[in-house]
Symmetry: C2
Subunit: 214 residues, 2 copies
């Protein structure tokens, strides 16, 4: 069966996946951009944004694993956009412009229904209002033999971890102190849920840990 995988999810040294006060200007919250300092220079990310060059090495190796063999994505609504509550209209179409970097179906968890949104180059956003298991079922059907990437944010990942539905999770722990924000693992006994760190690596700017479930 295809796997549900988290990749390149960066957390601060104090465990936060985003800083406080997330909004349209600061989608990662105050100070949160620095969580991605290891990721942005990689060749993999530079290609995603249509540029040549970029770094190779451990950071890029982990980045590249994150886009291999994907047939669908699942995102929490706040990763899709800054709109809260009912959709006022269909104006907001994601952070990424007309050609989002997914190129496969993307299932967006929300409490507010909305028709599917077909974008360029294979990305279609489907809005799922009946919970994480339904989103995973739909994503599995869309992905076929390929895997599903769970993009986040922290609260959505916590829900899937709690339900023991995440198969593999790559975290990048970064030398950034945020002080407050969304904690990814705080108060969640992932060890009791069957997870362990089964692989790790380091670069100049991150400790990479891969958690898998027994």
């Amino acid at each position: 069966m295809s796997k549900l995988r988290v990749h390149c999810f960066s957390i601060s040294l104090d465990g936060y996946g985003a800083g406080p006060r997330q909004d349209r200007e600061s989608p990662l919250g105050v100070g949160g951009e620095a969580l991605h300092d290891w990721f942005v220079p990689t060749r993999t990310f530079q290609r995603v944004v249509g540029k040549d060059g970029g770094t190779t090495g451990p950071d890029d190796d982990f980045a590249a694993r994150g886009i291999a063999n994907l047939g669908a994505w699942i995102l929490g609504r706040n990763m899709f956009g800054p709109v809260r509550g009912p959709w006022p209209d269909d104006t907001w179409k994601g952070w990424w412009g007309t050609n989002p970097p997914y190129h496969v179906p993307v299932f967006v968890l929300t409490h507010h229904a909305r028709p599917p949104l077909e974008m360029e180059s294979g990305t279609t956003f489907h809005f799922v209002t009946d919970g994480i298991e339904s989103a995973l079922k739909q994503a599995r059907e869309a992905a076929g033999a390929r895997d599903i990437r769970l993009g986040g944010g922290a609260s959505v990942i916590r829900q899937y971890l709690q339900a023991r539905l995440v198969d593999e999770m790559h975290l990048a722990i970064t030398p950034v102190l945020l002080g407050s924000g969304e904690s990814l693992l705080g108060g969640l006994n992932t060890k009791a849920l069957g997870y362990a760190c089964t692989q790790h690596g380091t670069s100049d700017g991150a400790l990479h840990c891969v958690l898998t479930r027994s």
Copy 2:
């Protein structure tokens, strides 16, 4: 004025400074020993335990900084031993035998008074019952121009951070998942308290972060 410094304090990738169920057999709690996998092989640690050899490199550089220019230590009582509640007698003299590796005065925070305990080679344990500020004052008097090292555990460090009394803190974040235990930074807004990560480094087995206070 001399500084209050934390060094080589290892935390799991989920932020715990020790695993659950600490006792005499597992002073670092279940699974907690793995937090020190980066530290034990270093030349600095090997010398402390009277052995030759050991690794050099970033891990040893950070380990060596931890023992430079120290005139006193402060420890929480649980770092001194597994005894809880009033001292039944004076039998327990620390985890370290007759010649503890401190060689300077050590101030042990406890709710239960006990006469000072003079050990070999310069280590004397003083038991402080009137709080963290008193312990720091006494340690400053003992240390003179040298610095004071705050050994831990997590709850004692949290108290000193909250009071903005820690000047410098080196953490080693390790690729170990503990799931539960004593959280070092959870729920403590160190950024709002004036701390930032001002230096970092990596080795094969740890992300080293140095926090300083503005």
